[in-house]
Structure formats: C-alpha cells, structure tokens
Symmetry: C2
Subunit: 190 residues, 2 copies
C-alpha cells in the first residue's frame, strides 16, 4: 500500500551545494543550495535554482562567475550555518571559520575547507516560476590532493559529500560504494 503525501518538494538525493561568489569590494560570500544538478555535457554546465532575493544572485549578476562545492561531513555544520543566515547581515565566512581564496579560472572564491569545486561562468540567469534559474558553464573542476584516491581522481570516501533529506530536514552521508554504474545492470542483458 502506498501512502500519499500530496505535492511536496521531496527527492533523494538532493545535494548540499556551497555556492561561492564575490560581492561588493571583493568580499567573499557563500550560500547553501539544495536545488542544483548538472544540466549539460557539451559544454559541461551546472544549474541552480535560487530564491530571487539572494545576495549570491546579485553577485553573480555583477561578476558573471561563481563556484560550486559539495558540502562534506567535515563541514556539515558550516554548510548548515551558511544556509541559516544572510550574507548581507553578517560575515558568514568569518563566523563559520572558512578561508576564501580566488579560484584559478573564474572571478569567484574557493574555500580551503571545501576540497572539491566547480569553477563556473554564468551563461544563463532566468526567472522560472518562484525561483531564478542560474546556469553556469563549468570551466574547470578542482580537488584538493587530500581527497584523491590511488588512481589520482576524486575518491568519495575521502571527500565524504553529504546530501539533503528534505523529508526529515537531515543530512545523509554517502561515502559507501553500493555498486558500479554501466556494469551492475549488464546481468539483465544476457
């Protein structure tokens, strides 16, 4: 038997994305966005759906750039905090003990505490219902050496990304490999 929950913004997983921008005077800001995903492959793009009144949106409109970093188990509280307060009211970066540095390829900050970042150039900023859709071309992805596996690429068991559970207002760990993509389904092709 299925139970009906009505019209809800429920989905698993939703990400916990730290969106980094520079504001007036080059002041770094970061927000917590759960409604984002990859939207294109050629060129690689990420898409975010943000509230229209976000400081982040003002900053992206001004600089044309932003970064996207997955929040991690180690930065869960910081990620939660930057989603609770407004960048125009308080210096979130300082309060959360985050350290901003200029990204290598775009005019936006990366943070020492977030070891994986997508460096993006905004290619579309568009109202869409009650949100604003921001599409960014992913110019480059960078990762701290501390989260690389033996094969030299990003190891999720070291990155320890988290996801947002919109049903229970919780964060879920996702560091355990459950299977192999483009392989585990092959058994049904025989």
């Amino acid at each position: 038997m299925r139970k009906d929950f009505g019209a809800q913004c429920y989905l698993f997983p939703l990400p916990v994305l730290m969106v980094g921008t520079y504001g007036t005077g080059g002041r770094a800001n970061v927000m917590n966005a759960a409604w984002g995903t990859i939207s294109n492959a050629e060129p690689p793009c990420v898409v975010l759906h943000l509230d229209a009144d976000r400081t982040t949106l003002e900053n992206i409109r001004a600089t044309g750039c932003f970064t996207v970093s997955p929040a991690t188990e180690d930065t869960l509280a910081q990620a939660d905090y930057v989603g609770l307060v407004h960048g125009r009211d308080v210096d979130k970066i300082a309060r959360a003990g985050l350290h901003a540095n200029p990204a290598a390829h775009v005019n936006a900050p990366v943070f020492d505490e977030f070891p994986m970042s997508l460096e993006c150039k905004a290619v579309e900023i568009c109202e869409s219902g009650d949100c604003v859709r921001v599409k960014g071309e992913i110019v480059s992805v960078s990762a701290d050496e501390s989260i690389l596996g033996e094969n030299g690429t990003i190891d999720p068991s070291k990155l320890k990304p988290i996801s947002f559970d919109p049903v229970n207002n919780a964060y879920l760990a996702m560091d355990r490999r459950a299977g192999s993509a483009f392989r585990d389904g092959l058994k049904f092709m025989k």
Copy 2:
C-alpha cells in the same frame, strides 16, 4: 594543493532517478536520469535534463505526464540496466522484472519495486544546449508503507536511495544520517 581536472560533469551527489512514462498503446517505459533536481516550491516542481532522442521524451510529449522514483540499493542493478538499453529496442520492464501500475494522479506508471514516487505533470519541455529540459509539477508524492518510519513519513534508512558518482562511474549508498538541517549550524550564531 588543488589538482585541476578541466571541464567535467562532476558533482556530488547526483541522483539516480527512474523516470516512468506510458508510450504507444499504454506500454510502460522507464529510464535512468542522473541530471535532475527540485526546481520550485510554489508549486513544487522537478526538473530533468534529458538527451533529445529519448523514448521518454516522446512519451512525455504525448501524455504530458511522468513519474520520478529514486533508485534504491535493492534496485541498483535494475536501475543500472534500464540506463544501459533503449526502450524502443527491448521491453526493459519485463527484462528487469519490474511491475508497472498506473499512478494515482497522473497518466504514467509507478513501479512496485520503487517505493517512492513523484507523480508529475509536464509544464515545460524546452531545448537547452545539448539537452532537453523537462519541468514537471509534482502533483503528489507517494511512498510504500514499508519505507515509512515511526513518525509516518519517509525514512531514508528504509528507502535506501543511491546516488551516482560521475567521477568513478559508481553508485553510492546514502542511508546513514550525518546531521540535522537548520540546526547543526546554529552553533555558529552564538
């Protein structure tokens, strides 16, 4: 030190979404989509970014409806399989041993094996770069009683959703609670 990976479609987490539709003659189909998220709250909407040649797209254009169900650890191989083959070539549903039933609110199938489903009406189908963006209004979310917690709502430790790791072509489990949203960050506000 950060290592640069260039322009890549890397993000954590990406979902593993089973998109259910009815095709010609009411034949159920399901595809595997990793590029989707919630896009709006009022009304609740989900957005998917699909290849333009998908059978699923033809079906959504014809019926105006689809369902979205998170793949789970228990259905990982089935989910992987339906992403490996084309619905026009083979009866994916039968081969994967899935059981389709009409959704309660829209003209699209839900599957016994996927215990949580978003029932959606397509409100936008739009080319966007190399993909087609499909936005669906979430008419209702349903969940099988087997995945409900004691509080009567969806328990991720019972649903056992998986996420897609695009760096290593792997699926990640995410059934362990790591923290509380809108709470764990409060300590930085003192």
